[in-house]
């Protein structure tokens, strides 16, 4: 009996594991069960057999095209957020006066939330906003279309990407760049040959997170977008199916499709990540 307990304890199984139970219960009740229930629901449409809801979604171009619309918004937005964060974070990685103020300013959009951002965009870039009053005519339309949503995704997604990348960058030992400099590497070579390869895994993770955030865009697609046309994203389709048509199986099926697409993109990004060096970013025994 004692021997068995020792053997189990060696594998990390002992009485302390019971401490996990309350948390496990919460996860089961609040996450696993509703999730499984939704997936189950998607296979029980009122007509068309087990895959009926999925068939409905994929056979109707108006529904099916929301995938392309959403990817068309979220992929470029996530890429731009990551790409724009890298040089700014790189510039700000050291210590300098006013760094905290600048970081705070960059973080504000996250705390404001999408609705306030959307309102600001409407007031500023809308047909009667400053932007269009200064510009002659009605040549540039930047709200209630693709660009409105795109800007909104950048404004809310960029600070997030920036903060993550800044922390990844601060984790890279600064003496590595100094070493590269004494070995004759100019700033671009130092960045490309040393910093970027060490940062790449962090970039992949940041991309995944900002992409998932952007892919589930809903408020800004409705408020500053064109929710019936060019920015009819997949979450709008799910909302319509669920709360306007009251077709819960279809709504669940759309949600499952959303999840699968996100998983595929994340898997691709993490697959690319594994091609890079993913170990420690400090140098030797410090």
């Amino acid at each position: 009996m004692t021997a068995l307990r020792h053997r189990l304890a060696e594998r990390g199984i002992d009485r302390q594991l019971a401490l996990l139970l309350p948390a496990l219960l919460c996860v089961l009740v609040l996450f696993v069960y509703p999730f499984a229930y939704g997936v189950g629901l998607s296979f029980q449409p009122s007509s068309g057999g087990v895959l009926g809801a999925y068939r409905t979604f994929f056979e109707d171009p108006y529904q099916r095209d929301t995938i392309a619309t959403t990817l068309g918004l979220s992929l470029p937005a996530a890429l731009l957020n990551v790409a724009a964060s890298v040089p700014i974070a790189y510039r700000m990685r050291g210590r300098f006066r006013g760094k905290r103020l600048m970081t705070t300013l960059l973080v504000v959009p996250i705390t404001l939330g999408t609705v306030l951002t959307a309102e600001g965009l409407l007031n500023f870039l809308g047909p009667t906003g400053w932007f269009n009053r200064i510009l002659p005519g009605d040549a540039v339309r930047l709200t209630n279309n693709y660009w409105g949503v795109f800007f909104s995704l950048i404004i809310t997604g960029f600070p997030f990407a920036f903060l993550l990348i800044l922390s990844y960058l601060s984790g890279i030992d600064p003496s590595l760049e100094k070493a590269a400099a004494t070995l004759g590497a100019g700033w671009w070579q130092r960045f490309r040959r040393i910093t970027l390869p060490l940062l790449a895994p962090g970039l992949a993770t940041t991309f995944c997170l900002t992409f998932v955030l952007a892919f589930s865009v809903f408020p800004s697609a409705v408020l500053v977008g064109d929710p019936a046309g060019s920015t009819r994203v997949i979450s709008i389709a799910a909302y319509h199916a669920g709360y306007e048509a009251y077709d819960y199986p279809l709504a669940s099926a759309i949600a499952v499709v959303m999840g699968v697409i996100e998983l595929v993109v994340v898997a691709v990004a993490l697959g690319l990540r594994s091609l890079f060096y993913t170990g420690t970013t400090s140098s030797g025994k410090g």
């Binding site: 030992d173 003496s175 590595l176 100094k178 070493a179 590269a180 400099a181 004494t182 070995l183 004759g184 590497a185 100019g186 070579q189 040959r193 040393i194 390869p197 060490l198 890079f276 060096y277 170990g279 420690t280 970013t281 400090s282 140098s283 030797g284 025994k285 410090g286």
Partner: protein
């Protein structure tokens, strides 16, 4: 790169109005091994970073013959540097770490290969060439860092406490290795350390720094036998630094001790007397002290004793006394150094 001398002229660096390094002037001959020695915070690493171009100078200039270097960025100075934490690129193999500098200098591929191979052989890492730095031991990483710096045949190699992260045995081995490399390659080297033994055993000339000020520049023998002041003496292993007074011409007294010593200071002036533990001998006719602590050190024992007035003195003896023993100590007047207090 051929040059005849590297000249530092009044190199000064301030951090927020406080001098970290003040007016370091030094001419380094080709092939010379210079050690910058001092306690932590003395400005020795600042001096090295200024030389490497990683810190801009506040004042002064650095010259390689007639070429001014201090206005160039680090990548254009052509120096090699070994960092305290080695700063090996963790995502590149040993081979590619070593080849990095050659590639940056657009050396033809075949030559990169040949010189990298040579450097790997030089530091005896042949079987580890394909490994990542994280897979190596501390000593091996150290050798990669050295190979990476010397493969460029730089006009100057800078080493920032390269042995401080190694254990005692490895430190001795690597010290010999660095000396061997310097002898075979003849690369001009500036070596920063806080370990006087390391500095004395490696360097052709030493620069002792304290609070950013140069205290003394000289050969190991000069510093060892004739330190310029009490601080240098302290650093050179003069463990007995005793506050005393010149009692008569040729005699110092105080702290319960009395020695004969040569000093030009006037009678009655306060002085600090420096004596190495090994120069304080147990013998008849000396000053009485009481043994307090005895440390076994192989053939000898290090003894801490107290004088009658309670001042601690350190000595090394071959015959081990016991704590509590009363002995008398004498010192050769030529080995008793007297500095103004």
């Amino acid at each position: 790169m051929t040059f005849s001398a590297l000249r530092l002229d009044g190199v000064t660096r301030r951090f927020g109005g406080k001098d970290a390094l003040t007016g370091l002037s030094l001419t380094i001959g080709k092939g010379e091994f210079i050690a910058l020695l001092g306690p932590s915070g003395c400005g020795k690493s600042t001096a090295l970073n200024c030389l490497a171009g990683l810190l801009p100078l506040s004042e002064g200039s650095i010259w390689q013959d007639e070429r001014r270097l201090d206005t160039l960025p680090p990548e254009r100075r052509g120096f090699g540097m070994v960092f305290q934490n080695y700063a090996l690129f963790p995502h590149l193999s040993v081979r590619r770490n070593i080849a990095f500098g050659l590639q940056m200098r657009r050396v033809p591929r075949a030559e990169v290969r040949r010189r990298t191979d040579e450097a790997i052989r030089l530091v005896r890492l042949d079987e580890h060439a394909a490994k990542l730095p994280g897979q190596l031991s501390g000593g091996q990483q150290q050798r990669v860092a050295i190979a990476r710096a010397v493969v460029l045949e730089p006009s100057l190699v800078l080493m920032d406490e390269p042995l401080s992260n190694l254990d005692a045995k490895l430190r001795l081995e690597m010290r010999t290795e660095i000396r061997r490399l310097h002898q075979s390659l003849g690369l001009t080297t500036v070596y920063v350390t806080h370990d006087q033994e390391e500095a004395l055993s490696l360097a052709d000339r030493l620069v002792v720094l304290r609070d950013g000020q140069v205290q003394q520049i000289g050969t190991p023998a000069e510093l060892h036998d004739a330190p310029a002041n009490a601080h240098v003496a302290d650093f050179m292993g003069y463990r007995n630094l005793l506050p005393m007074k010149v009692s008569s011409p040729g005699t110092v007294e105080g702290s319960g001790l009395s020695f004969r010593a040569t000093s030009s200071l006037p009678v009655g002036s306060d002085v600090v007397v420096a004596i190495r533990p090994e120069d304080l001998l147990v013998g008849p006719g000396g000053v009485p002290v009481t043994v307090e602590v005895v440390e076994y050190q192989g053939r000898e024992a290090a003894v801490e004793a107290r004088t009658l007035s309670g001042a601690p003195v350190h000595l090394r003896v071959t015959e081990r006394p016991s704590p509590g023993d009363k002995v008398t100590v004498v010192a050769d007047p030529a080995r008793v150094l007297v500095f103004p207090a």
